[in-house]
């Protein structure tokens, strides 16, 4: 049951100044699937994730080679507006990073700027996004309160809701549970499982159990190279490459 890829990278190289962080990455990310990117720290998995919605643009003196196709179009072509890309490819960060605004305004911030003005649509959007992020029941009575007063796990689910409010096609998650306790982590993992019905999810994680639990596909990175990429089941039970096996069984990294 192979799906159409929504994002494809073709021979991507990436440099921070003279340092090459990614070498010749070619991979397909399938629609409505969860793909996990794993590997030891500094292997380039987060760098690749940030390439997919052009967040690496924000860092000076970086360079991309190769193609990143989103629905068949190279997002690094000069006439592509990264703002448009980011509207359709949402992102959740390592540490929860809500704005110092109310819960309500955190969610409506981007939709308002994108042109949604009516109170009813915004209210509906807030409720819908919070429900999708399984946060609604906890915060429905305190929507006016500052997002900073929520717990870390709640903040991260708020950030997910905030990303969902833009109705993206893809959700990039950069180690979304690394700053959270086990209970909050479990909640986020459940959430990922539900969200894949309607979204394509690419998740970077250093937690291999997490990758095994939530993803259909897994890519293993080492030193800026994609070592092995395939069905999660296969990667974790019967990898083709020795390095992958060593990493997964904990022999290094």
């Amino acid at each position: 049951m192979k799906n159409q890829p929504i994002i494809t990278t073709k021979n991507v190289n990436f440099y921070y100044g003279a340092f090459q962080a990614l070498t010749d990455i070619t991979m397909d990310f399938e629609r409505n699937r969860v793909t996990a990117l794993i590997g030891p720290s500094g292997c380039g998995k987060s760098t690749l994730l940030r390439l997919l919605n052009r967040m690496n643009d924000l860092i000076d003196q970086t360079r991309v080679e190769g193609e990143v196709l989103f629905e068949g179009r190279n997002i690094y072509e000069p006439d592509v507006d990264p703002v448009e890309i980011r509207k359709r490819i949402g992102m959740v960060f390592q540490k929860p990073n809500p704005f110092p605004k109310s819960i309500y305004n955190n969610i409506t911030y981007a939709p308002r700027l994108a042109g949604i003005k009516s109170k009813e649509s915004l209210d509906a959007l807030v409720e819908d996004s919070l429900k999708q992020a399984v946060l609604w029941d906890e915060v429905k009575d305190i929507l006016g309160r500052s997002a900073m007063t929520l717990s870390g796990g709640q903040q991260q689910r708020l950030c997910i809701a905030r990303a969902l409010a833009m109705k993206p096609d893809v959700l990039l998650m950069d180690e979304p549970t690394s700053a959270l306790d086990p209970i909050s982590t479990a909640k986020i993992e459940e959430l990922v499982d539900e969200l894949k019905e309607s979204y394509t999810i690419i998740i970077v994680t250093h937690n291999m159990q997490q990758a095994a639990r939530v993803s259909e596909y897994t890519g293993f990175f080492y030193l800026g190279k994609l070592i092995e990429f395939g069905l999660t089941e296969k990667i974790f039970t019967n990898p083709d490459i020795k390095q992958t096996e060593d990493y997964i069984t904990g022999r290094f990294g």
Binding site: R73, D81, V83, E84
Partner: protein, 302 residues
Amino acid sequence: MVQKASVISRRIKETLIKNIFAVFALFSIVMLGLIVFFLFREGLPIFRVVSVTDFLFGPFWYPTYDPPEYGIGPLIVGSVVVTILSSLIAVPLGVLSAIYISEIAPPRLKEVLKAIIELLAGLPSVVLGFFGMVILAPWLQETFDIATGLNILNASIMLALMAIPTISSLSEDALYAVPRDFKEASYALGATRYETITRVTFTAALSGISTAVILGMARAIGETMVVLMVAGGAAALPGSIFDSVRPMPASIAAEMGEAPFGGDHYHALFATGIVLFFITLAFNLVADYISNRFKEVGSGTL
């Protein structure tokens, strides 16, 4: 992808906004350029009357005599003397107080002292000059039994008070920026706090402290009201620290009001401004160079 037209117009808008901000940012460069331009425009004509060498090194500043003499030698000497003497007072006090604030003082006292330094920096120079005139000058006159309390010593003390906040707060920043690891490594090797502060922290912060000292001295050279009010105003070479002098800023401020517009005296004062400007510019560029080199070294060790 959404309608193309709106995307394009937004990108144009973003570029436009960026460029508007760039224009504002260039304003500082433009201003600096305008300052140089107008100093030269109003100052250069004096060199039709007197040569550059005679102007800079001439021993006599008699702009209102007939014939007038435009030698700013004594003014430069006056500036140099009060700057050096005030640095001798301000550098130890500024640096040592920074060490106390950054490394030794308990947190609450630290906050209080930082506020004190900041308030001292906030004292208007005319108020310090006034204090030097009405309180310090009579006291000096009586204590040392001298003709006037308006002299090099008085000006240097008041100038030191103006330079101390600059030196202290910038030195404190430099000391604060020294990584904890260095200090902990030193303590772990059995060094005392004194040894750690003098051998490790101070050394690591040395370039920042040098910058602080240079900027403090630049502040003293350029400071006007204090030297105008308490240096005594004699445009002659001093023989002791109880003699009065007329540093460059004092000369400009005191005489500009009387100098006929567009006359030689007027141009000579602008030319003095050029000299003052470039001396302080040199100090600032040196300070900038040192702090910048330090930064590069810092990031290189990462």
